[in-house]
Subunit: 314 residues, 2 copies
């Protein structure tokens, strides 16, 4: 079954209910940073869902905790970029990704002895928490980080196009880092049943349809001057580089970050039209908790700066 | 397509890799609380996944944030029960459910002026955080709360059976509160492809199979003396009570908590073989942040106590 066009997709699927609010936020953010001549990185993160029912009980999901995107957003901020963090609801977010809820509560000490109850972070946890908290507060007080979120693949596409429309004004200073795990498949709106599928009617068959490739209009029409980086996640090593090269040939963007599901936290290959470069963490670095995203983002910022023909921002 | 038997399911699907660790934890927990004559509530929470590939990139998921289960676990603890909280990885958990990572970081104040960096909770956040933190610490220091987690439907069933085997020794003092959103469908192990499905091969068709109804062996064989509460979530009001009654007739357990997806946070119906009782929050209660689980759990504890023929535990 062939995929419909991207125009058709937007014609058939209505915008999400909070779409206008998010569009205003995106517009204000891009205008403000454009005025100051800043660079903006749009970082997409987490997986999209494909609902199997209108009153959604069941859906097809793409695996992604949001590790790559949330870590990368922090490094773009460190390099002086303003960041639009466009993420799957409840996936990992910059700064908070370092601590689960339980880990944070375990760091806290409750003192009810005095006239006023106080809660403090235990001294041995301060070393871990303080640097992250300082960077979190700096990013927020500078207004350098905007969060917008999606759940379904249709919400993702609506947000992505809206962000591009706002980013277009920045020209080459806009960088798109499309790390979200977007479904290749979906179920067209008119094929989705209204109510929960009943097990009494037997086991269902789900016919999926191909999602149109949004990278095509994105690169050629929406943000023709931006620095666009896409991602390729595979489980079969043999397909990895050929598929990355094929994507660059087809969409004419700047880079594909290619990675395997099994090794993605310590190995990626940065594939550009000119070259391919392996980024690898040693076993020691992995154990020390080094983020491979520090290197990935550092290298992309270097290439983006070169592309801009100007000095590094920081 | 008809479902296989539950024996067949366990024969075909291997136990999860961390299964023996979890079984030891469950065994120790149940033996300890049995010795003291405590009651134990097994609270299951969150949705299960059905992997579409062995190297899982895509899966079918059941919608559930874990709101019902995580809130209920807190109320069982308040009523003096020991609680096994068996939840979907990354779903909401008791106590931490009140605060997202960002909300917690926003409560913290960093002070780097003195010789030692300190981090304290802002005074206006202490009122909100202190009571939750106190209950969190009390539950943990009493050893009254055990967390075990699952992701796939097969992991869920392995854990559920292991928990039942440990709970059986408590007889009627064991209460099962099966709030997890468990998939009715799955893909048998031998039908799942090894590698990521390729979009170039066209849109896939997914043939799902029915999952065996584990409530049958659970009630009749695994924990024949326990107080078992199951849940029914529908989107169609007309099916709700008939399906709850049918489940009670078929499995002979104690209660079905029936709820509609659309109204589940302020309305449920507690259906027992003898009666059905609506629990409803007013609009004011919803706005004030009252948990409907406080009433649900309170009523179940009352019925469980009656069933035990003894006085309330607290």
């Amino acid at each position: 079954m062939s995929s419909g066009s991207w125009e058709e997709f937007f014609a058939v699927h209505l915008p999400p209910t909070d779409f206008e609010d998010n569009r205003s936020l995106l517009k204000e953010f891009c205008e403000r940073h454009d005025k100051y001549g800043n660079r903006i990185a749009l970082v997409t993160s987490g997986g999209t869902t494909v609902p199997l029912e209108h009153n959604t009980v069941r859906f097809v999901d793409n695996f992604s905790a949001g590790t790559r995107g949330s870590a990368s957003a922090e490094y773009f901020l460190e390099h002086g970029y303003a960041v639009i963090f466009m993420h799957r609801q409840k996936s990992l977010e910059p700064y908070t990704r370092h601590f689960s809820g339980q880990k944070l509560l375990d760091m806290l000490e409750l003192d009810e002895r005095g006239p006023n109850t106080t809660i403090t972070v235990k001294p041995d946890s301060v070393d871990v928490l303080a640097p992250v908290l300082a960077r979190y507060k700096a990013a927020h007080s500078a207004g350098a980080l905007l969060h917008v979120s999606f759940t379904t693949v249709s919400e993702y596409f609506w947000l992505l196009r809206a962000a591009c429309e706002c980013l277009a004004r920045l020209g080459p200073r806009a960088l798109l880092y499309l790390a979200a795990a977007v479904s290749d498949f979906y179920i067209p709106k008119d094929r989705v049943p209204t109510h929960k599928m009943q097990s009494a009617s037997g086991a269902p068959i789900i016919q999926l349809h191909l999602v149109p490739k949004m990278l095509a209009p994105l690169v050629s029409l929406w943000v023709p001057n931006a620095y666009v980086v896409s991602f390729k996640l595979e489980t079969d090593e043999n397909l990895l580089i050929p598929k990355a090269r094929a994507a660059l040939d087809k969409y004419k963007h700047k880079m594909v970050v290619a990675n395997l599901l099994q090794t993605r936290h310590h190995r990626v290959i940065l594939v550009t039209p000119e070259a391919s470069q392996e980024v690898l963490l040693t076993r020691e670095e992995v154990h020390a908790g080094v983020d491979i995203e520090a290197t990935i983002v550092g290298e992309i910022v270097r290439l983006h700066t070169e592309h801009l023909g100007g000095p590094s921002v920081r």
